[in-house]
Symmetry: C2
Subunit: 496 residues, 2 copies
Amino acid sequence: MTAYIRLEHRFARLSALGDASGILGWDQQTTMPLGASDRRAEQLATLAVLSHEILTAPETGDLLGTAEQGAAELETWQQANLREMRRDHAHATALPADLVEARSKAGSRCEMAWRQARADADFNAVAPLLSEVLVVERAVGEAKGAALGLSPYDALLDGYDPGMRQARIDPMFADLRAELPGLLAEVLDCQAANGPVLRLDGPFPTDIQKAIGQRLMGVVGFDASRGRPDISTHPFCGGATDDVRITTRYDEANFSTALMGVLHESGHALYEQGRPRDWLSQPVSCARGMTMHESQSLIFEMQACRSRPFIAYLAPLVREAFGRSGPAWEAENIFCAYTHVEPGFIRVDADEVTYPAHILLRYGMETALIAGDMEVADIPGAWNDGMKELLGLDVPNARLGCLQDIHWHGGSFGYFPTYTLGAMAAAQLFAAARESEPELMEAIGQGDFVPMLRWLRTHVHSKGSLLTTDELLREATGAPLDSVVYRAHLRTRYLG
Amino acid sequence: MTAYIRLEHRFARLSALGDASGILGWDQQTTMPLGASDRRAEQLATLAVLSHEILTAPETGDLLGTAEQGAAELETWQQANLREMRRDHAHATALPADLVEARSKAGSRCEMAWRQARADADFNAVAPLLSEVLVVERAVGEAKGAALGLSPYDALLDGYDPGMRQARIDPMFADLRAELPGLLAEVLDCQAANGPVLRLDGPFPTDIQKAIGQRLMGVVGFDASRGRPDISTHPFCGGATDDVRITTRYDEANFSTALMGVLHESGHALYEQGRPRDWLSQPVSCARGMTMHESQSLIFEMQACRSRPFIAYLAPLVREAFGRSGPAWEAENIFCAYTHVEPGFIRVDADEVTYPAHILLRYGMETALIAGDMEVADIPGAWNDGMKELLGLDVPNARLGCLQDIHWHGGSFGYFPTYTLGAMAAAQLFAAARESEPELMEAIGQGDFVPMLRWLRTHVHSKGSLLTTDELLREATGAPLDSVVYRAHLRTRYLG
């Protein structure tokens, strides 16, 4: 057996362990009784430690070295697989054991305190623990950076979005920052001129919302034999290979959050379900990174399903399901409700136009925090100044401000930009798909996602991690990641 | 760190892996989409292989040797824990790797073929694969027997019920065999004299059955913060430490199967929930074996919950829940329905009086099969002769005969006797509990299981694997395992 084949066996084992953790994590969020929390943490930690041991075992490193010497004899997919194995190995071995432990502990402690601090809108209560997290994450960034030849922030970013670099993001985000304030003012004027949107009044029974959600999952192409929908407080897409679990939460006063949430998570799920089958247990089959993953949720939620043609298809469905009629339930009014723009404090509730402002704020701050140009004590002031500057809002308290997101408190620095990078990629991919498949938009208007899914399967899903994000986008759309198409999309939809 | 403490860490890891498998197994039976089957098998196999590697690692053996040399300095529970570790290690290391693999493969292949063969009532279709299973299980019995100093059948039995031996079972089962035919004839005469039982006519809506089941789970003491009920085709008690998952299936034409099934699985669950907390991640905290486990399900299902006092408590509950009244719904008629005796072909549908006959048949056959005194080709004839002799029935086909149970086809030899040994132990424990807690029966009649559960917690659950089955029973009841109390119980309930 060659070194490469032995590595495949080793990584198949890691894949199975990752899948097991995925199901246990899903269960924890959807099903598990509360009293099992401690034991579940123990189970997940054991699987994580075993995976880490397998990945960082001296033998893994030796096999990688040997396989790389013979890489010229491998076929393209094997070479890409070997590259991804090396990447996983480099990230895992970059950190000494005590830093891995410190990272896990600091994140858990701060995240726990954050839940209470957010409820109390008391930033000072969590600040000391967040400072500990920041110290550890800076050290992680430095250790990984030294191993990978990257700056600390780039090293953290690379953990979420392989190959993505601050130097690539900065000019794209600068373009956005230059355009957004003016665009937002224009959109708000335009909305004011169009008059108010009629309210879609509830209640909307949960079981009907569920039925519509499941129907739409089928419409977009979710394979129910290899996945399922469930309920959780915080919606997510998780589970395992060939077993993709998506969740949503229901609000009987508002059906559109759950409905668009289901479409968003279905986009993630379709990416997972479309991974290259020949490589399913190998790193090269995995989604390319968080930018591409977010592009797949947003291409469904934002690009396809907030389009006029799709909402024209959706309107009679929801009218019939909820037994409603009248002007508020006309497609054009639903479209206006679904694309209503209004600056607000909370990122996850933000519309498509103001969402990037939330990311620009966080990205600017987290790069400064990791670089040592900002400290935890500076966060509330910088946050509130940024919200004033970007969206014209005065943040009334930390719950609606710098305490709203879990990310930093759990130790995630370098994740935030992928939300907006994903939105850009979604716009690029959707424009390319429409150009390549002229009937795509009309099909979507009839609830037929076959042309769209076929294009995504060919150009995105089936690629796994064969290419870098920029290579993938260049092959699929003719250009690397860029904000041009995204900005054009916003102008067309909101000022068109 | 001493060798013993290092072993505790090692076995805590095994416990977490076992828990992870428990949740994945539960998910497979209750929740998983069908298309995930292959990957789930991969996940479970990976966890099993990793556990086996940890348990059989040379270092584990070395640590055991070192710890045993210093065992005199350990406290009682630690000594028992070390003994259980050694036992697990001995079972795991007894088999060479190729036999482990052959066992797993033969069992899986035969089990798969069995599903179709049973549906077709075609024993010949599965016989060649069952022969392969038998060859492998004989080899397993011999290998384990050589390592443990036991006969092949005892070595297999010991895997399910530590310390149980054929020489202990034979005389107890001989007593049963001597008594049962006469007892059965008497019971049938007695029933005939009492006249027919009035039918409890359905339909019984599933949601009402569920609500009653959950209420009764609470009544018997199931801790819903550390476990949950669900639905599966084959009811079981599984899950993980502090997360005990029981399942049932519902038949709208008959509510008593699900109801008694819930009480049966709750008995298993209460044993798991009552494991000694100081040792939760260690082998010594585990249930003593299948005989004791079955005793805990049967002490609830059969001893407590088919008693007249409990049914008097239950009758108004079900009348109200299903909106029924009339003579069929009087407590005495429900009692007669719940204790109706009738020889039948299917073990899992059997009543308390005829159930042991099904076990005597299987036990006699499987001991002969493992000893080489019977071959697969002899199974249908021996089965049908046995059913005629024991229950006076002519088996019409193999689906209602030797193809009904999964056990042998999946490679389980040595499991069957624990069902009836458990029934004996349940009778002994219940009699001792009633004697020790004079108010116990009256409390049960009021839906108060506190005295019974308190007694079981003290005398059974909290013991984990500290004692052998006989030691545990002797301490709890004054006598080792025996059929005397069980036979007396049958006479009292069915001829009383």
